[in-house]
Amino acid sequence: MQVGLVEQAQRGDAEAFDSLARMVGDRCLAIAVRILRDLDLAEDAVQASLVTAWTELRGLRDPSRFEPWLHRILTNACYAEARRRRRWAEGLRILPDAGTYGPDDYLTVDDRDLLERAFRRLTVEQRAVLVFHHYLGLSISEVAARTGLPLGTAKSRLHNATRALRASIEADARATTSTQERLA
């Protein structure tokens, strides 16, 4: 069905593209929110990427690859959104995501807090590889394709992102323990 809509949209059918956008929009937003950690920025990135997808759609050679192709556009839109907001100076950080969390017994409230803080310390590019790998469950080669990176760079970025995230979580955990010990 999606392929048919892509082909119709490639012939300039705005109605078909609208249906296509509604099929993929929520997933795009989920990816963008996880990369940008901000709902407003994520909506802007999704809107920009879908408009770009429309204008460039005739350049998509394989309609069955619409979503991976769109995700690459979305990744660039996320980078652009993040950079537009934190381009000039330190101290200007992306605002907290006001989204709601679903229940997950694996994570405690402390876990979420630590992970959220650690995730925000990563660069937007590091977050993108983590989201594609862990959220969408993509292989490294697919992550590379969707982020436009050479395979080796994608591997090292994922490795560095995981290492940075882990170090950040551990540092936070140590700081919390130390504070609790001082207060005890």
């Binding site: 490639q10 989920a30 996880r34 408009v51 997950d104 994570l107 402390d110 992970l115 590019e125 959220y135």
Partner: protein
């Protein structure tokens, strides 16, 4: 707690939480936008068909013939008395969001994108100096959270970006500016005493490592005197396919910082990429320091460079 558990599992669970729905308003906005935008035309087949050896030669020969015919028509071989010659291709003067190349020879109406023509207050602070610039051409956008305006912001950093920006930053009278001796090792190269006048600040930049600051010159903007100098971020920080943080990964906090402000943690102004050029106009506006920063990339077109400089020179100030 988390240290004992598999970090991959934690990350996965963390990322899987939550659900998002894109608001109908966003879909409506997308629909409205795409109905205004034409799809870019792609010329040529999706796949190169399998050809025998004769066909490419024939195609190449046909291409040469077409090029000759088109070239003759475009360049024109004016016959006697032919004052009109071939129809000219008139470039559009109006920026187009779709960026689709246009060879339309019909008159193009001017589309004013971004900030309107006329005065625009970049820095509107109740405590600091109010800086107003004169927008003279289309395409400038406000970056209100940074007290800046930019044009052609393509989301890339120097040296790739073709954009330019003007930052108008101000601090109350008596504020000290810490020009780092080494912008890469900035946390450990804070000067013993901050600079408080345009002369001191410009002199500190002149002594800064790596940025190859030009000799400070006298400047007057909006009736206020000061010093001008230009900083350049070395191209040695340019790494292919690297993020900004990776490019400056050898520097403190992965940042290349020009200066900070006395009493504030962290730096104030950092570079976005290798080869970045910052033309600074450091002014004393009735005791307050104002730094107008014309931020350019080596890829910024000359016309935009001149436009951004003119924007800086158009600044007027109102002290608190």
């Amino acid at each position: 707690m988390t240290a004992q558990r598999d970090p991959d599992q934690l990350i996965r669970h963390f990322l899987l939480e939550g659900s998002e729905r894109l608001h109908d308003q966003v879909y409506d906005a997308i629909r409205a936008e795409i109905e205004q935008q034409r799809q870019r035309v792609v010329i040529g087949p999706w796949r190169v068909p399998v050809m025998n050896k004769i066909v490419p030669i024939g195609v190449a020969a046909a291409a040469v013939i077409v090029a000759l015919v088109v070239g003759t028509r475009l360049l024109g071989a004016p016959a006697k008395g032919d004052v009109g010659g071939a129809p000219s291709v008139r470039p559009s003067v109006a920026p187009s969001p779709s960026a689709a190349p246009s060879a339309d020879s019909s008159p193009t109406p001017t589309v004013w994108v971004g900030l309107p023509k006329g005065p625009f207050t970049v820095t509107d602070s109740a405590v600091g100096v109010r800086t107003t610039i004169d927008i003279a051409s289309p395409g400038w956008e406000s970056l209100a959270e940074f007290d800046a305006v930019s044009k052609n912001d393509d989301g890339r950093d120097a040296p790739e970006t073709v954009g330019a920006s003007l930052l108008a930053w101000t601090w109350p009278a008596g504020t000290g500016i810490n020009v780092y001796k080494d912008p890469c090792q900035w946390t450990t190269s804070v000067p013993p005493a901050p600079a408080t006048t345009p002369q001191e600040i410009a002199a500190a930049f002149a002594a800064q490592a790596e940025t190859d600051a030009s000799a400070p010159v006298d400047v007057t903007v909006g009736g206020y005197a000061g010093k001008a100098t230009t900083l350049r971020v070395p191209m040695s920080y340019d790494l292919p396919n690297a993020t900004r943080e990776e490019k400056f990964g050898a520097c403190d906090s992965d940042a290349y910082a020009f200066y900070g402000v006395e009493g504030e943690t962290g730096h104030a102004r950092n570079a976005q990429g290798a080869g970045q050029i910052d033309e600074l106009f450091i002014l004393n506006v009735e005791g307050s320091i104002v730094i107008l920063d014309v931020a350019l990339s080596p890829s910024t077109p000359t016309e935009l460079v001149e436009e951004t400089r003119a924007l800086a020179r158009s600044a007027t100030f109102k002290a608190p």
